[in-house]
C-alpha cells in the first residue's frame, strides 16, 4: 500500500503531472502526499581569486529561500482543495547535492513520483540526474510520469520482464499498482530459454507467481526486430493501450549505459505512459 508518496518539485511551473498522479495513488490507499521544495544554494567554494564575501553569500541564500517560499505558497494554493492529505515540505539541501537531499526524504516514503526526461528539454538533465540518484540510492521505487500521462484505474499494465534482480524488485514494488489493473502483460523480448536466465518457459514462472497474487496475467514474447528492447516494450504498451509500465532500472551502470546505450534511458526518455522503475 502506498501510504506515503513523495513528489520532488524540480521544474517549477512546468508540470503538475507527477503531483496529480501522486494524488490519484493516495486516493486509492488512503495515503498521504508530500511535495518537496528544496532550498539549494551553491557551496561557497574558495577560488584562487578568493571566495565570495559573506555578504554576497548570505544574499544568495536569502534569495534562494525566498524563491522556495514563494514556490511553496503557490503549491499550497494550488492544492488547498486536494482530495487527500497533502503537505508541501520545504527542505534545505544544506551541504548536500539537491538530488541527494531528495533521496534522503525518499527513503521514508513508499514511492517517489517524478517527471520523465524528454530528450529535447533543458530540464531533462536535472530530471535524469534526480532519477538516477533516486533509483540507485533511495531503495524505493520511482514512478516516472511523463507530460500529459495520468494514472488510470483498470486498464492493462505491462511488465518488461527480464530475469534480473532489478526486474524482480520492480514487479514486487509494483504490486499495489498492479492490483488496480484489469490485466497484466508480462512482455519478454527475444527471450532465450536457458537455465541461467529465463528458464525453460520464459516469463511463465513470474506469471504464475503474479497469478498467486490474484492478478490476471498473460505472457507475451516480442521480437526486437531491428529496434531496441525498450522500443519493443513501448510499442507493445502503445498497441494495447496500457496505462502502466513496470521495469527494472540500471541493471548496468549509468556510465555503461552512456557508452553502450541502454534500456533504462530509452524508456525514461521515450515513454508516453507512467513507468514504475526499481533498482
Amino acid at each position: 500500500m502506498f501510504k506515503d508518496i513523495l513528489v520532488p518539485d524540480i521544474s517549477p511551473g512546468c508540470e503538475h503531472g507527477p503531483a496529480d498522479a501522486a494524488i490519484a495513488l493516495a486516493e486509492r490507499d488512503g495515503g498521504h502526499v508530500a511535495l518537496l521544495v528544496l532550498v539549494d544554494v551553491p557551496e561557497p567554494l574558495p577560488g584562487q581569486w578568493a571566495g565570495m564575501t559573506a555578504d554576497v553569500y548570505s544574499r544568495l541564500h536569502q534569495e534562494a529561500l525566498e524563491r522556495a517560499r514563494s514556490r511553496v505558497n503557490a503549491l499550497r494554493t494550488r492544492y488547498a482543495q486536494a482530495s487527500v492529505p497533502l503537505e508541501v515540505r520545504i527542505a534545505n539541501a544544506g551541504a548536500m547535492y539537491p538530488q541527494n537531499a531528495v533521496t534522503v526524504h525518499a527513503r521514508h516514503a513508499d514511492i517517489c513520483v517524478t517527471t520523465s526526461a524528454p530528450r529535447d528539454r533543458l530540464e531533462a538533465v536535472i530530471a535524469h540526474d534526480l532519477f538516477h540518484d533516486l533509483l540507485l540510492q533511495s531503495g524505493r521505487p520511482v514512478l516516472v510520469v511523463p507530460d500529459g500521462a495520468k494514472i488510470v484505474d483498470g486498464g492493462r499494465a505491462v511488465i518488461a520482464w527480464k530475469p534480473t534482480r532489478e526486474a524482480a524488485r520492480a514487479v514486487h514494488d509494483a504490486l499495489p499498482l498492479l492490483r488496480h489493473a484489469e490485466a497484466v502483460d508480462v512482455v519478454v523480448v527475444d527471450p532465450e530459454p536457458d537455465e541461467k536466465g529465463y528458464g525453460q518457459d520464459p516469463g511463465a514462472d513470474i506469471a504464475a507467481h503474479l497469478a498467486r497474487h490474484g492478478l490476471r496475467v498473460e505472457v507475451i514474447a516480442k521480437p526486437r526486430m531491428n529496434f531496441s528492447t525498450a522500443y519493443a516494450v513501448l510499442e507493445h504498451a502503445r498497441t494495447v493501450g496500457a496505462g502502466l509500465l513496470v521495469a527494472g532500472g540500471y541493471g548496468r551502470s549509468r556510465f555503461r549505459e552512456f557508452l553502450l546505450g541502454g534500456a533504462t534511458r530509452e524508456l525514461l526518455q521515450g515513454t508516453h505512459l507512467p513507468v514504475l522503475f526499481s533498482h
Binding site: 500500500m1 501510504k3 544544506g94 547535492y97 541527494n100 534522503v104 513470474i206 504464475a208 498467486r212 497474487h213
Partner: protein, 300 residues
Amino acid sequence: MNDHGTRQPGIAHHPMLRDILLPWVNEASGRGPLRAARALAEAFDAHVRILAAVDVPMPMPTDWGGMSYDLYARMHEDAHARNAALVARLREAHAREGARVEVRSTESIAMHPAATAALHARHADLVVVPTAPMGDAQSGPALSWFGDLLIHGGRPVLAVPEGMNVDGLPRRALVAWKPTAQAARAVHDALPLLRDADTVEVLAIDAAIGGGADGSNAYGEEPGADIAAHLARHGLDVQVTTRPSMDFSVAHEIVKHAGRSGAQLIVAGGYGHSRLREFALGGATREFMQCTDIPILFSH
C-alpha cells in the same frame, strides 16, 4: 475509515506473501528455517517451495590430469541418488499439507546451486535461509548461500537460527535503522511480516545528526523520527531508540538490544557487493548472521 477514496484500505489490501522460497542449504540447519517458512505460509495462506539441489562438483582439469569420465559419472549418479532420497523424505514429511508445500529438485550445470536458487528467488516474495552461527561447521556454506541470495536474488532474505521455533508473525519487532537504500528497502519489504506486531522499535546506533554531501549518514535532525512517522502511517505502533554502540560491534549491540526488549524479529539492511561472479558481504551483515539468536530480515 477512509475519507479520501472509494477503496477501503484494510486487511484485504495488506501486503501479502504468496510464494516463499526455502533453499535446502544443509541437513543440520534446515529445521529452523523450515518451521518459519511453514508458519509464515500458514499466516498468509502462501505457498512454500523447497529447493533441493543436486550438487555435483564441476569436473575440473588439473595439472595432474582430471577425473576419469567413469568416476565423474559415478559421482553424478551418487548425487542424484542422494537428492532423490532427500526429495522423497521432504515430500513425505509434507504429504499432509497438500499443495501448500512443494518440493522441487534442481540441477545446475556449470552453476553453483545457490546461484540457481537466486533465479528462483526472483519469482518469490521471500527467501528463508539458515543463519551462520560462529564456530558451526555449516557456517561457511550457509554464508555463501545467503550472500548469493541477498546480492543476486532481488528479494528479501529471512535468516532463521536453527534452534528457533517460529510459530507465527512477531508481536514485537526491531528495525535496525540507517539512512541507506538497503535499510529503506528492508523496512518496506518487512511490512507484510509486521502485520500482527504490537510494537515496532526503530533503533538507530551511533546516529550522527547531519550528513555527507551525497546523502550518506543523513539521519536528519531527529534520528529515526522520519522512518517512525512513515511506519505509523502504515498503522504500526512505533517507538524510537537511539544509543551509542559502546564497546561492541554494531551487530552485537543490536542483537543484544533485541534480546533485552523481547523482539522476535530484526529488520536490517544487508550489505555487500558483487565482485565478478563472487560477492563480498559487509562486515556487520556477516556478524549479524553469526551472532543472532532470533530471525533477521535482510534486504539488499
